[in-house]
Homo-oligomer: 803 residues x 2
């Protein structure tokens, strides 16, 4: 490209909203991406963990002598070998290696580092552990019973409390140990008065089940210490900067001596926010071996020993007036915390936001309790508690509408907020496409007509009943101010060929951030997407970022990238103006050229200008830095505050065919409308939403990690049923472009949104088809078959209502 070819002017063009191939797609499609599994470091050892054979037991003895004697074994560690180990996890209630007691079947007892995985496996088989069984608690309601055996009899922390997160929160604990891992309350408005004003009130208990992330890339880590004792980790974490600090505290090391490099990640979905025992154990092995130690899970191990979505028992009481005005929501949740506390325990905070603020709710009362059991423990998972809360709320929305004989869409529109409203919890809806989501999804799916028709045809002959259901969601779309900073740093440099290196704190975990960030930079600098190289996976190089969670990367890292690009643009235009004797305000960047903004006429090729700047007496390179911090605030002690710079909405209409003979629910179509602020990469956002819908479909219909008295019964893809390609419904996705004022080019976060209301909409669709409402997930053929025949035994959890 040169000026001669650009004879007259360069037409305005934009990458925003285009379908841009993900930058990492060719490598991934060609099978050339090097995941942590593919890495080979000189002298590396392979590690395996011996896990508990019992659900709950005292460890009487561990004999590793035979394992240590096996040729090729370098290190065998038990808790006795690492007296300096500290508890990890959100509540610091979890020793990586268990020496005295195992509390769940995944518990780590010993670890081996050997010349090969095969030798390490063989060594595990030589370790003899003697147990003394303890009573098992596998039902969270049992954990609360007086005299229940204690899972963590030892007091935790200096104050005897369990949860260390959110020290400013009014979390009430007795000083003496019980099985309560966390408990707190939230309220806004006057519940008693609101219920008194209600014409209709429903109360139901909902049961949400275990699912797990099923990342295609199983968990793995490589840890090594250099000759100076610095620790390098190749890690799949989603929060490298937080982990760098946490590991430093944990290991009593100067943080400057810890470096985290993230190889390409085969799926995260929130599963990689916490520190897990295998990571700490691998570090201990590397420290003992003084060699790089690599630990990669088997698929079975991934099912057994990686976190799940938080299972919840949830009683929702909600009411409305005859005119369709929502009056109140009162909620009690009981969370199965599992044996240890990870991020799953924090899902109540997200559920609270949904209960308090999805639709206009004058009064909300929310009580949550998480209890220890001997089950697997939950982590964070795309959408957090929002899937669970939305499942309950949106069923009640349909039930309330039916009770007052109002069209479900109209009922929702009446209670949906507009831009400018502030919720009871203090969220300020600066831009809001909620109603447009509702009307768009409803219109495009012909929801109202089909909803009426399906009811009319419930009694028709034949086993197949058609149903349509609607549900909406509210989620943070501009980060979430949980940590001291929710920001992201960027360093940007241009080279002599006007190619850009974008060094960002934000990690790519498959969500397409590299591509979107490149687009945003290209939009400022008038460059093709190929001009940008993204560097984003090394704490020694990249500036700080809080990590990949809360649908924040496009918004936060995007604004950071734009900030750095704008500074670069200013430098470039100033240099061009000086060199070519123009007014810099009359110049712009487009198609690889500095142009006259009014005519599009090229002034100089950007690459040439870069070389002129560089190869001159006053040589200069264009390099800039930027740190973006969103204008959000922390919640106050009452959990109130505008925690996100923007909020995102979506409405999803699900259509199903229920085979009443077999209970099989076929999801035939999903019509979605998403307030995404603005579409940046159309291909990327379509992929993000399609993938999310399928994840929501699995949560609704097929996925179910069966935990039976503490034992995971289906740790494999044969028995744990992911949705596969033939079952994926037709999709019709609309993007509502509310052009958020703070968002990068108007965009909002959308990573979690598409999974959130599928199960709720599916429940409403099944009811629409059959007139039977089901309050427990998943809608497996067996569950639906039984429900349709009224044969579901009234489960004891349905009577649950905490005091």
């Amino acid at each position: 490209m040169n000026v001669a070819e650009k004879t007259h002017f360069i037409e305005a063009d934009t990458l925003i909203g285009k379908r841009i191939q993900k930058k990492d797609a060719p490598e991934k499609a060609a099978g050339k991406t090097r995941y942590i599994q593919d890495m080979v470091l000189p002298g590396q050892l392979h590690a395996k963990i011996l896990r508990s054979a019992r659900v709950h037991a005292r460890i009487v003895s561990i004999d590793t002598s035979a394992a240590k004697a096996l040729p090729g074994v370098h290190v065998v560690l038990t808790a006795a070998d690492v007296p300096d180990q500290q508890p990890i996890g959100v509540a610091r209630d979890h020793l990586p290696l268990k020496g005295e007691r195992v509390r769940s079947l995944r518990d780590e007892i010993a670890a081996v580092a050997a010349d090969s995985e095969e030798i390490a496996e063989a060594a595990l088989k030589l370790i003899r552990v003697e147990y003394e069984d303890l009573p098992i608690i596998s039902d969270p309601q049992d954990a609360l019973k007086p005299g229940a055996p204690l899972i963590h009899p030892e007091p935790h922390g200096p104050d005897g409390k369990h949860l260390h997160l959110k020290p400013n929160a009014p979390i009430a604990f007795a000083g003496k140990p019980d099985n309560i891992a966390m408990q707190f309350d939230y309220t806004h408005g006057d519940i008693a008065q609101a219920e008194a004003e209600s014409d209709v009130v429903f109360e139901d208990t909902f049961k949400l089940h275990y699912v797990t992330h099923c990342c295609m890339g199983v968990s793995g880590i490589i840890a090594e210490f250099d000759a100076s004792g610095n620790l390098l980790m190749y890690s799949n974490t989603q929060v490298p900067f937080l982990h760098k600090r946490e590991f430093a505290e944990y290991l009593h090391m100067d943080p400057s001596r810890i470096r985290i490099i993230q190889p390409p990640i085969g799926g995260g979905f929130g599963s990689k926010l916490d520190i897990y025992p295998f990571e700490v154990i691998c570090i201990f092995l590397a420290r003992a071996a003084q060699r790089p130690v690599k630990m990669v899970f088997s698929r079975e191990e991934e099912f057994l020993a990686s976190p799940t979505r938080q299972p919840v028992l949830l009683t929702l009481r909600s009411g409305c007036k005859k005119d369709g005005t929502l009056t109140f929501r009162q909620v009690h949740t009981l969370h199965d915390n599992g044996a240890y506390t990870s991020w799953g325990a924090t899902t109540p905070f997200v559920m609270m936001q949904t209960f308090s603020s999805l639709y206009r709710v004058p009064a909300c009362d929310y009580h949550t309790t998480a209890v220890y059991t001997n089950n697997p423990y939950a982590g964070s998972f795309r959408g957090y508690g929002n899937l669970q809360a939305t499942f309950a709320i949106e069923q009640h929305m349909d039930m309330l509408a039916e009770a007052i004989q109002m069209d479900p869409l109209e009922f929702r529109l009446k209670n949906a907020q507009d831009a400018g409203e502030v919720t009871g919890q203090g969220m300020v809806f600066k831009s809001c496409g909620f109603k447009e989501c509702l009307t768009t999804a409803a219109e495009r799916s012909d929801y109202q007509a089909k909803h009426r028709d399906n009811i009319a045809h419930r009694g028709d002959a034949g086993p197949i009943k058609r149903g349509i259901g609607i549900a909406s969601m509210l989620h943070v779309g501009g980060g979430a101010k949980i940590y001291p900073s929710d920001g992201c740093g960027t360093i940007l440099k241009l080279d002599d060929f006007a190619n850009v290196t974008l060094i960002t704190g934000a990690s790519e975990i498959g969500q397409g951030s590299e591509t979107v960030l490149s687009q945003l930079v290209c939009e400022e600098l008038g460059l093709p997407i190929s001009a940008v190289t993204v560097v984003n996976n090394d704490t020694a190089i990249t500036p700080w970022d809080v990590g990949v969670h809360a649908s924040r990367t496009t918004f936060i890292a995007g604004n950071s990238a734009i900030g750095a690009a704008k500074k670069a643009k200013a430098k470039i235009l100033a240099a061009a103006a000086k060199k070519h004797g123009c007014d810099e305000t009359s110049l712009d960047l487009r198609g690889g050229f500095v142009i006259h903004a009014d005519t599009g006429e090229p002034v100089v090729e950007l690459a040439r200008l870069m070389r002129n700047l560089h190869f001159s007496d006053k040589a200069e390179l264009v390099m800039t830095t930027f740190y973006y911090e969103p204008p959000s605030v922390h919640q106050d002690k009452g959990f109130k505050g505008d925690v996100s710079a923007a909020y995102a909405w979506a409405t999803q209409v699900v259509e199903v065919e229920v085979d009443t003979d077999t209970g099989i629910v076929k999801m035939t179509k999903v019509t979605g409308a998403h307030d995404v602020g603005r579409v940046l990469n159309r291909l990327g956002i379509e992929g993000q939403i399609e993938g999310g819908v399928v994840m929501g479909q699995g949560y609704a219909l097929t996925e179910n990690l069966i935990v039976d008295n503490g034992v995971t019964r289906n740790p494999n893809f044969r028995d744990y049923k992911l949705v596969t390609a033939p079952e994926i419904p037709e999709m019709d996705i609309s993007f509502i472009e509310s052009m958020d004022g703070e968002g990068p080019q108007g965009a909002k976060g959308v990573g979690e949104a598409p999974s959130i209301c599928i199960a709720a909409a599916a429940a409403n669709a099944i009811y629409n088809a059959t007139g039977v409402r089901i309050f427990a997930l998943p809608f497996t053929p067996e569950a639906v078959y039984r429900a349709l025949r009224g044969k579901t035994p009234k489960p004891h959890w349905q009577a649950w209502r905490p005091a």
Copy 2:
């Protein structure tokens, strides 16, 4: 460290001039450093090259069918398989794979990529090449003879000229091909008049031999193309940014699609400035295999196929007046270019600087010719042509002094320049410690007394004669403006713990730049050396730098690092002043704290300030960028100009014992005085100088790559004699701190200096001991034995004097 511990004040301290352990030392000492040899990429293939079995021949046929059929062989390439290959090298006279003609024994004929090195080696043995011998030219004087066979009969370049370097230089070529690779002339002053004014004139011809770099890490590269066709090279190059651009041009690729990562390098010494055939061939193999291809030389290959120091035949005519005033130097050099033109061909440009400007030289006339032969070709090598030029000049300095009966030191001091002088070639000596180098080295070695005494004892009984010799050198000490920019870029960021990431364009090749750059940053920011992580080995991340050569890194990259650190300091002090209500000009940084500059009283711990800045509403990170371009200029068409921002001097006094019975010369002591501007890392500079002295000792006494009619006879460490520990002389090194005004903390470059005058001083010492002057290197026992007995046959090269 916290404020409480710092009760009163923090004492001023500095890292400058201290003995700082190299940051990479623990890894290297522990054997943990991962060189390119240690790298294993998934799917990588191993490559080997088939080299010519003849010195000069036409290739009649190549049969690779058996090699291709060998199991485990993936690719076999010959010139016929890469019709798109272009010539490489400084003069673009060198096809990586030779298809029609081989011109030296190292010539590349075919290459194999296979599953293992062993299979690749086996495949090479299966390749059948049929040759037709051509006449060999191994003596550069023969190459100039009328009717000499032409090594490159084909015309080169559009104008039929060979050398493409320095297009502005008055290089004269006939349009028709000959064996001249390069030829040019330089002059200042009136030679004829200066000779007429001379009282003494000497003319001698000096012969400089082949030596090679002997890097402990042999040459190697890994090349791979990703699924999008981007090229990633793991390369030991010293000039990654230049190579990125050159490879892009060579491969007709967008430079943005080429990334060069430099693993730790096991020695460079200038050998890695050019593109070599093995690198291009490895890229071709990777392109064909679509896999990572790794090629690492054997030690024998390293001797045969990596570049050498440029051998030279050099006639120097120089004169002085009776009062000791130097009058002129007239020089003719004939360079054995070998079969192809690499950086060795440019050593005459450096030699020219020494002839024109080492001591005050009123008139200088310099003629150089480089000719093709069938010998190995030379590259750049620490000190470039300066060792060769200084060898001649400093012998003549002694001879002239003796002829006018002046003390050699006094003669040198009379002609040594002072600060402020400008040489005939236009070098401006801004700071100049030349005379202090001379007097310091002479005094500390007791040179004058010993020099007299040794002459007096020449006739004593016994075979052992003691000698002392002096020589000085002038070299660039502030970069060398050869390329469009001689600058270096830096990006610097501080984290929440006041640890610094220094992203610099400058490569670490073992010279200790990481450590020195860290010191310079710490000096500005008042931090310990451990606070800095240096990122310096990836063109996708680091800002541009011209590369490691010309003793420039400490000076140029150092000033760049200081620039970025000063900007960071300004931001920090402004933030501290704002937060703590002080005047920022009253603050400083020291010991990890912001302090009151006048009292040393701490204001705030820097790490805490960083967190306060970061974790606030107006969150910020301290990140800065800087590009430093030295205030040097390019030479004009007459090769004149102030090409370096600073110049460095050194004087070395060498003491020897000559065993006249055996010819063995034992170097007993080296007393050096180096104008280094300022000592930054005392440990590092001592190591740099001690290593350089030993390299100079090898050049003088032991190292000799024997090339016999085009055949390298000693490609191994048994027959090629490096100096080993027991032979290393006592050293007494003084640092002259001339505190250069432009230098980083006053420092100048010193990387090449210590090797430069050892051979010259050794020649003078042998003469001092024995009264016999030897004009050819090296001073092996055989050469010295013969010279002492006058039995050196008058070699035909001594008669060489070009027309």
